[in-house]
Symmetry: D2
């Protein structure tokens, strides 16, 4: 379905060449100050034509709030937001319409539906993500106001160029290896959107950004494409978010991220590197942190048993190279006839710079939904009269006198 | 919530020390031959005490079908299945009950619920997965009967020992690199459960299995734990499964897999390696394959645009080391008092061998759900009278005469 | 939430004074011929200003399809439809804004959300039903094409004027009483929309319509309002629709109908009269009807055990008088200060004539959803290989040789 | 599906002749004192064999909590509860197995699933309601503790014997008519379970109960069955429960009630009588009631615009006569062969006395679910910082200075 979420639930609509794309958001908290100005910035970060690293098509992607607010405040009713498709007429048929694009969705959509959009990507187009970003921006505004939650994603790698310092466990150089992880966690604690937007790659490190830019430019010049990796950190998340057993917070984040076009991999915390670290090292030991507990390391990525523990949540994503490329590709038509496809026009040689706000928005949707569900539980449980007979073991107070 | 799926939907119940654990399955196809004998084998593959690589606790985990079948056939009504907890009384409190285990769910459950199971993992215990495996075994039986679908998972790595030949793109040795991927895809085409179960590690390659066994034994002897990686392949999946845009097949698989305790990472197809491969190489070119199209490579992992394309679906998972270890760990009590925790008893030094049938079961649940949803769409669309006026471009028949 | 349905699922948006109202429909069968012309007629039947029995506000309510179709055919992707609010600026505040209208939603919305639309009914306005009617018209088109399903609702009563002949059981005049029911079922078999639309009341019987019209006109002239009853029949529904146990077909119909503003009661089949009929009379005996079974009476209303049995489905609804009336009402302000409220402007003295297409649309949504769910089950079960060992008792074939 | 609810969600399982029937409840508030003793009383009120007005089969229906509690407190995890079927072997086939019972679910289940339970009602048996009652009892305990909510259902009519004083509007005797309604509302304010359980009919008025008992006994003696009506009142419900637009509180109540076997009609507040009452009479005028508003009449039944307004919620239900009767019925076999069916054994001549706790339980499930959803909204909105710029009209404070 084209819906996501439970308590903060969105339904998106729109193909690449229909009249409009957009979203309905259910579960928006009533009384939240909200206008288009809160939503537009994240949409503008994902729109095409931002730089010479992205597709030159210059669409404005101006959002309109159709319902759910009045006088600049949310009513708690469904929030509908829409962006017009500036050119919504299907173009003349061309070579591309005879061939399902290799590794694109043309063939599988036809297999699924029996019909397909006559040209363009239809519903598989990344224009579909406009609704996600709009809904995510609203969630982000609430999360910031209510809890000071910060969400920052950035491009950490392009092709084989990768800035991530932390790597596989090295038993021989354990100290050095641990130090690299500590440095990485420190980076994630402070990275912000200004740093990220300081260059067109959306990598907060200028030196690495320059190398990544070169890699993208090479693909662009070769009429080829290239993938990369993206890191996202979510700070100031309250403890207790995430629903056992199937809707663990990392499971919902993985679901959300792997639903973004072109994603191929997801890691929470230590990720695949965690498979190689011994338990006595990987376990994040507790310490007292105000009136809560904190952990001295963060291989868990801020989530234990599927539930947020108050530490920074961070995850890592792989994006494949975009499927539509100008280079000639030997392939077959829908009817299986051999031929050669070379996509006309110019296309994003690397989707990552424009995907940053999509990743942040999906993260906001997941956290918002988990937060409302946990609010429901806590506020409901809070009305049960205090019971002096409850055994201390049930309250985790067995060791009180220790 | 403790529910998973839409059209084939399960709800699991049970803590480590309550009377029973189990599952209700809704959406079971009526008329399917089914008895406990169809379900028990996968449960037995995940039960403790199978070998000296796993926890020596010997629980029988015998399943009972409570409802939903009669005379050995499903009625289409909710299928309830249950396994008794043999020792369901909480044990005497011990040292472990004063300390939240580092990187376990003790602390976060208490933060979430305000109460917690007095001892043992409660709902975060892996005993919760019994319901998943039972429900998955039923789905598997149907998938096999109806479509010949085969699902095989196996342990591909333990610690830093890893058998996966395919790796990051090597532009200098592209042929050799491509050859490794081809070999990998060939392995995935034929690997079966007999090979997997031929050793206690559940790695189909005897040589690699021996190395992994050594690595597990070292952790066991050091009262430590170690993680690893697991690969799963799903063969003979019809085209068209997976729901755009949020419930892409890989997104649902990622959700399912990341909801399994201890998982830290998920890759579909080329995964993180895909980030480094240029588009002209990564794109899976089409060829005619019977009355459908096939692809000459399979970096996509059998899914394009979130929808199955008929090729083998495969994914890769990272598991962290188990949190409960015998080694002493400096940490704090629930109240923040410094101390040292050393878990009593013996624990799984490596969870992967027992996790194989859990991964297969979750995969079966995802495929089954997607299949029923696609059946709904196809059978509903099939009743629309054929319309001779439908433009060929909508049917992907533009290039017919070419 | 503002969503309804499972497999054919709609989400509506819009308040009385926002920019637009509309709907997203998920689960539309792909390949269905569909343009605005299929949707507009039912919207026009519910729009204001149709006659001097309804509010004289003349809104055009022209629908636009924003997404989900191309070249006049559905793509199977989310269908978004929108109607602009012609005057979307909140009007100047008036007396009505100081008082929560008695029996309207003003007070309860404020209690629920803490904020409320500044004037007008906001989300509780009947303009919200535009999205339902648009989505229902699409479902109706499919149901007609695929199964010849016909849905006809009509006004059966206004105030104490009621045309329904069937009534409480009369043991003394059982034959006469049974005859009235037979006549009623015969009427329901043939009533059609042309008959219904032959007068402004939307009652298919001209004589009764005239009496109802008089009753409405009296309320209009007294600046008062009046309720009534509506009957709806659904013909040619296949057997097997409706999901035990909670989503019985009559339960979903009741849910759907009681979600329409101003409804107060729902009856399926014999309804409240059924409480007075002895079992041996009320039981609908079976007879052979082609290759299926039919029933000689239809007190069940076409549904047995929550599942359609192939006979006509019919139900009866009560609507209360509209809450907004011109007469002065002694009441209090939001702050509890005594006062008198007399609604300005002119309002619908009776909502029933405009509610006919809303009822039909909600019925279409319920049947469509149930049909897709049953298609999913049947097409999935059909792939299980025939099993010659299945006991005849499970197939209802015990009595074959009898 | 066999699931009901959103935030407090149940899934039931079990047929008449399988090993056990039961329920999983998700969303139980953690920390609630709960043992089997809280659940058993309502189950005992619905069990067979209570009196000579019900089927003489004497099943104990003892409930066991399988999971979700420890030491007498809920953990917030899924609560699984089970009741064994004492005789779970299908009996020998008899005459009843050759004939689909008229107005029962035998035929429609076979049409739906293609298979059916070999004998007995299978999933359509009222034993399925055991899970509902168990889950409802838990909800009731919470509602009572947290809000003092009281839910009381009672039998108000059997056959044509009906105690309800309020009736259709009588313009000529308006005062007398209004007086009857006032008396009715007064009765609903005080009726309690002790009164209800003071006789076997479960009608709180002894005189009416005696008449109803006679009517039931007549049906019993004639091997016939008879239906009736039931009224349910829910007191002390907070304002603000119920979700616009589709999940209006009365819509959810209607859904819940019409999912109970044998129900044929539902009325909220004035119900069908409301269709005949002029608006100026039907509108419930407001008055100040503590720091909230109350209404001077209650035709609305405690719900306005789908949202609870703090007044008593009451509704009225019609039950048809039970389908299984001992009298001979001319009908046909599954294969359409004419014959005569007379059900063996003894059956409930009237289901209403045993249905009282089912209705109360379904009401508790609806209110509990709505409460948790509203708690989610309120607690989430409460974290938005107070905004001094919000226009008073949005806060319903326009008339403050008036």
């Amino acid at each position: 379905m084209s819906s996501f979420g439970t308590a903060y639930r969105i339904a998106t609509f729109g193909e690449s060449h229909c009249k409009a794309v957009g979203v309905i958001v259910e579960g928006v908290p009533p009384g939240l100050p909200l206008t288009e100005a809160d939503v537009q910035p994240q949409l503008s970060r994902r729109r095409p034509g931002q730089s010479n690293l992205t597709t030159p098509r210059d669409e404005k992607d101006r959002v309109t709030i159709l319902s759910g607010t009045e006088m600049g405040y949310t009513l708690g009713t469904p929030l509908a937001m829409m962006v017009h498709n500036e050119d919504h007429r299907p173009k003349d048929y061309g070579e591309m319409d005879y061939y399902p694009r290799p590794s694109h969705a043309d063939y599988t959509y036809l297999e699924k539906y029996g019909v397909k959009a006559s040209s363009g990507g239809g519903r598989s187009s990344a224009r579909e993500t406009i609704g996600r970003v709009a809904a995510g921006a609203v969630a982000e505004k609430y999360l910031k106001l209510a809890h000071g939650i910060e969400i920052v994603a950035f491009v950490s790698g392009v092709g084989l160029v990768n800035m991530t310092p932390a790597g596989d466990y090295e038993p021989e150089q354990e100290e050095e290896w641990a130090d690299r992880w500590n440095k990485w966690w420190a980076t994630l604690k402070t990275v912000n959107r200004e740093q990220v937007d300081s260059n067109e790659v959306r990598c907060p490190d200028a030196e690495w950004a320059a190398k990544m830019r070169q890699r993208i430019e090479r693909s662009r010049d070769e009429h080829d494409s290239i993938g990369g990796t993206m890191v996202c950190v979510i700070r100031n998340v309250p403890t207790g978010l995430g629903e056992p057993c199937f809707d663990k917070l990392e499971a919902k984040l993985a679901h959300a991220m792997m639903s973004i076009p072109a994603t191929k991999g997801f890691e929470i915390g230590s990720g695949f590197a965690g498979a190689g670290i011994p338990g006595h090292v990987h376990n994040d030991k507790f310490y007292q942190k105000g009136d809560k507990l904190g952990t001295t390391t963060n291989f868990s990525g801020g989530i234990q048993g599927g539930i947020s523990n108050g530490e920074d949540i961070y995850f890592n994503l792989a994006f494949k190279p975009a499927a539509t490329i100008g280079q000639s590709q030997p392939t077959v038509t829908y009817q299986g006839v051999d031929g050669v496809l070379a996509a006309k026009g110019r296309h994003d040689p690397c989707v990552l710079p424009r995907a940053v706000s999509i990743v942040e928005s999906m993260a906001a949707l997941v956290i918002m939904d988990a937060l409302v569900l946990q609010n429901a539980r806590k506020s409901t449980a809070a009305l049960i009269p205090v019971d002096p007979n409850m055994p201390p073991a049930l309250r985790g107070e067995l060791g009180l006198g220790k």
